[in-house]
Amino acid sequence: MDLIRHLRLFVVVAEELHFGNAAARLGMAQPPLSQRVKRLEEELGVRLFDRSSRQVRLTEAGRLLLTEARDLVARADRVRELMARAGGDGAAGLRIGVPPDLGGTAVAALLAALREADPPLRPALTEMCTADQVRALADGELDGGVIRHPAGAAGLTYGPMLVQHPGVLLPADDPLAEFSSVHLADLATRPLVLLPRESEPGLHEETLTDCRRHGYVPGEVHPAAHPQFTLGLVMSGTAVAFGPRAEQPGVVWRPLLGDPLAWRVSAAWRRPGPAVEEFGAVAVRVLRENAGMIDDGAARARRIAHRPASGLLA
């Protein structure tokens, strides 16, 4: 028997709890619907509906099956959808999310590498923040994504973790621009532009925590999702920002002493499959080569040097 087809009917009956209404919704006559539900009950060896009263009720087994059946039906739909989107060459389109600040070079390299894969993938890239990607992956609206950590998402599979140690973007006339590198503590209480908490909750929290730990307590935190907006705030002397090296008049980029910030990124997907795993491998390569990211070895343990003048009970 076609289990999926039978389950699809069962789900509708379970939702309506009325064979007549369910048949109407399915656009079929009621007797064949009742027969098919009976067949399913025989196949599974349980009673799914309690038909003794005037009202149809789910049995305990029926309630258990409903959750599973919905999942199976949804996945079967997804398989059809994938196959429907598969082109004449048999390669499925791959819906990928990438962070808005990934950079043009990395986006282009990712697309090119996915198209050159064997068999070729037909990627559709969408710019999307981590929070939205996590939701879209869970809802099956995305096949894979490039997300920032900590992502705090259950049920996702991650590719290898890559890390980027951002430097600091300063207004050109900031006295700290005199130095070749800057310590987080030097930033004192300067206002900071940072990716918004709503879109990058993990990165936002972790960055602020690391700043405080190193002696930088921003007087204000301005959320900014777009790199150009961020640059504008820095250029105008409104705030400083963290990020990869940038060449821009009115802004100087300096490395942070001791690489105190580690922005971690990985590919992520929910349903394993050859296409999405190929994407995972390609994404790692592209991020390494085009987005200045390095393999995330063991995080360097930070050594605190105690000084008598500021030590305990000094």
Binding site: E178, F179, S180, S181, H183, A185, H214, G215, L257, G258, D259, P260, R300, R302, R303, I304, A305, R307, P308, A309, S310
Partner: protein, 286 residues
Amino acid sequence: MRRPDLAAVFRAAAVTGVVHAVDLDTGAEVGVGSDEPVVLSSVFKLPLLVEFYRQAEAGLLDPAERCEVAAEGRTEGPTGLAAMRDAASLSLRDLAFLMITVSDNAAADVLAARVGLDAVNGMLAAFGLTRTWVEHDCRGLLAALAADLGDAAAPLDPRTLGRLRVLDPARTNRSTPREMTRLLGMVWRDEAAGPESCAAIRRLLGLQVWPHRLASGFPYDDVVVSGKTGSLPTIRNEVGVVEYPDGGRYAVAVFTRSIGTAQHQPRADASIGTVARAAVDHLRAS
């Protein structure tokens, strides 16, 4: 990066100064007046400490040996045993701890008597530090100052500075910025003595209490600053090593003279840290 204007840092703090900084691993260096003769003041306690540990290694003295310091007759000073009133019994190495961490003059002179200044000068010559010389211990230095000053309690008159022997490198404990960074490099590379002795010396320099000079330029939890200060009327010095979280190690020697004679000049103290930070930053950028 263009070369930092180190002299401007001194000017802004109303001092004249010389500085030498060197990357202990690459030999890259930067300085202003690196080979000028300078007054060491209490910085002489650093070579004394090194010779103390060398003699311990040679079996000439036992660092754990207990030493009685009587209430009477100890060298004067504002810190440590020099400022305490009663007899004390400490090991030689704990006297060394006081000599370095709070620049205790009484502890320094007990060790100077034990080690011998001739031996310290012999070690310096053997190291090739030919322009570094220890002329007197703390008592001798204070005696020369008192003899030249007359009334030591009176406020210092800028016109009398010229006749103070302890401010003239030719007539007191002396060195050059470059020779001091060389000595520090030998300590950090385990060349001045055996590895255990050098580690003991580094530990004491790291426990120095003063936050206002070299350390003020590096107010970071993950940067290690070790050093030894020296102070006299108008003189503010510190030599030390700065260690960065990425493993970079830099020896820095800064010697300043203030134009004013006021004792309390936080900007002059802080200029030592500021100039050291600029010099180290330049070494890291080149």
